[in-house]
Symmetry: C2
Subunit: 348 residues, 2 copies
DNA sequence: ATTAGCACTCACCGAACAAGAGTGCTAACA
DNA sequence: TGTTAGCACTCTTGTTCGGTGAGTGCTAAT
């Protein structure tokens, strides 16, 4: 039994109809709606074959057919038509996304906003993972008698600052010295390595007050470094889940929302995905908690190097054609936008 | 008809029973469970009175009684017993909250985490509103040829930095000069006023490159200032809503989640509440979208001055006694913790 | 190979019904 | 006069049951 032309056509019709209607589809409706010159009975025979081949399932004896993961896979890989964004859509994306590329974080956040707006799904954007990032310098800045700001700047441009309340007063001289010593020691070192380096405190012997200062600042310095290694997750459109019929069940909605609210774990899953446009459907997902979802992610580049991610998560029944087009358009624009200095133009 | 002792006792029993069970309570059950030496019939008479007085309602003829907003109000003001935190509870709060007060933002985030954990509700924490905050200095730091970090430090210690991608290269000399000019112009000015001040650009006439630099940086400077004036909202435990029977209805859960996800609006509502422990119940809330909820907020102080907020939101049927105790304990600890420098000890 | 016909299967819907919890009222009681 | 027992009544909740409709699988005819 092989997948002849007609079977493909039927499968295509079933998948795309189900994606829009969320209702199992029967032979009669199919024949009527897609008038393909064959009778319901014939379609039934073909559908039975397709079911045997694993492309369709029955929710129960005698309801219409529903596509399986395998069917979605085939649909995504071979069957679906490319969705072309209209000029208005492109215009809208570009105007919201590209007008102020200067502020990186905001741009990324806007990307997530746009994506959920266009797809009516839950969207997310991740800042780049900067494993190789190196420390550029450290600044300790005065605020008031017992408060300083610890500022760490990495070569990538990532900055982190932490307001630190000290147990006792400090002198400007001491914090400047400490900044310099720390910068001297860690400049050019990979952020991820610094924790494992021995903490150099040769000033400790010199001045007792400096030692106390360092005692407060160093632990916070390390935890701030950890923060810098984390990518940031921007989520948007989580409540869109409520307008999806599959999630009319309170229990399912709960599971979904708990999943995306486990930000740490969720981020980890996203970070570990490959580059490029990646679609994983239903039980193709290795994570137990997203076996009922499909996940589409794509990567954007900054100066052709570092990669961040952009994507959506929703039910397996999603508009793969439109979504991939939108995501691709957005990541392409981001990548070129962030490559004004002239990064390489390699492409898969 | 007046609220005699017995009526109060009955009301008290109804409210506290309903808070735990979420079920309308009838005269028989009440008499059995709280064996107060009066028969169901008598209780029925009293309940009828209480209903007439507006303290109770009937969901329908012949189901038990349910407390009204007015009843909760009375309960909260006069009837409820003070909940004393156990030593373990206190210990747990203090250890999670007070171990690293140095990192302000993290501490506030932990406060929200703790609060939702203790109350099984949706909790939130707000950083202080710093309307009077003044600019301390501005720093523009180099990252790479076309990227700088714009850093703004306020007198309160609040820091904001934005990674800015410039359209063309800059020189260190120019960004240093621009930092100085900007600091000179805006130092000591209230953040909220700076936008309305005329933007001083006397350097523009001098050097053309400086003008271009300023053109990119100034708009971002202003929008960053706006960000600094906003308070940050830390939300936690939003999915707790799913374990509350009242929200087993998908429609209600949706409305609730959309409400708290409107972060801007939600924050605004919270910011505008009075200081101290404030409880608003059901339709006491002026905001249409939280008429079915109760909201408890309390304020913490930093050096006795600036105030941030901490609170929970949930169904009107919440454990007011425990929640207020927990919140109060937390804000008290935060306030004293943040007052190490020795702020005034005024109290309401 | 295709199709008409037919018996069969389920989910879904609404009606009917019983059970249970609770009320309001009346009349008796202390 | 306040309290209580008794009782009829109300309304929700859960269950059962039959009808309806969409859809299937199989068989026999085309």
């Amino acid at each position: 039994m092989d997948l002849n032309e007609r079977k493909l056509k039927i499968l295509q019709a079933i998948v795309s109809d189900f994606i829009h209607s969320a209702e199992p589809i029967g032979s009669r409706t199919l024949s009527r709606k897609y008038g393909m010159g064959i009778s319901p009975a014939t379609i039934r025979n073909e559908m039975a074959d397709l079911e045997e081949m694993g492309f369709l399932t029955h929710p129960y004896t005698s309801a219409g057919r529903v596509p399986s993961t395998k069917a979605y896979r085939l649909y995504v890989d071979d069957l679906m038509h490319r969705y072309e964004l209209s000029d208005e859509e492109k215009q809208k994306i570009r105007s919201k996304l590209m007008t102020n590329l200067a502020e990186f974080d905001k741009t990324i956040e806007h990307a997530a906003n746009l994506l959920s707006e266009f797809t009516n799904l839950t969207s997310f954007a991740l800042t780049p993972k900067q494993e190789e990032d190196k420390l550029k310098y450290i600044n300790i800045l005065p605020v008031d008698e017992t408060t300083v700001v610890l500022m760490i700047v990495a070569e990538s441009g990532k900055v982190s600052n932490t307001v630190l309340k000290l147990k006792s007063a400090y002198t400007e001289e001491h914090i400047n010295l400490l900044s310099k010593v720390m910068t001297y020691n860690y400049k050019g070192k990979k952020l991820s390595d610094i924790r494992t380096l021995e903490i150099i405190r040769n000033f400790e012997t010199d001045i007792e007050a400096m030692g106390r200062l360092a005692d407060t600042i160093l632990p916070n310095f390390l935890s701030t470094l950890d923060d810098m290694l984390n990518v940031d997750l921007y989520l948007d459109g989580v409540t869109n889940i409520f307008s999806i019929p599959e999630y009319n069940d309170i229990e399912k909605a709960k599971v979904f929302l708990e999943m995306v609210n486990q930000k740490k774990h969720f981020t980890e899953v996203l970070v570990n995905r490959d580059s490029g446009v990646i679609i994983t459907i239903g039980d193709e997902n290795t994570e137990e908690f997203m076996r009922e979802c499909s996940l589409i992610t794509a990567t954007y580049r900054i100066n052709g190097k570092l990669v961040g991610k952009l994507g959506v998560i929703g039910p397996t029944r999603m508009k793969y054609d439109k979504i991939t087009s939108v995501i691709e358009y957005m990541t392409d624009n981001l990548s070129t936008g962030f490559a004004l200095t002239g990064g390489e133009e390699d492409e898969h």
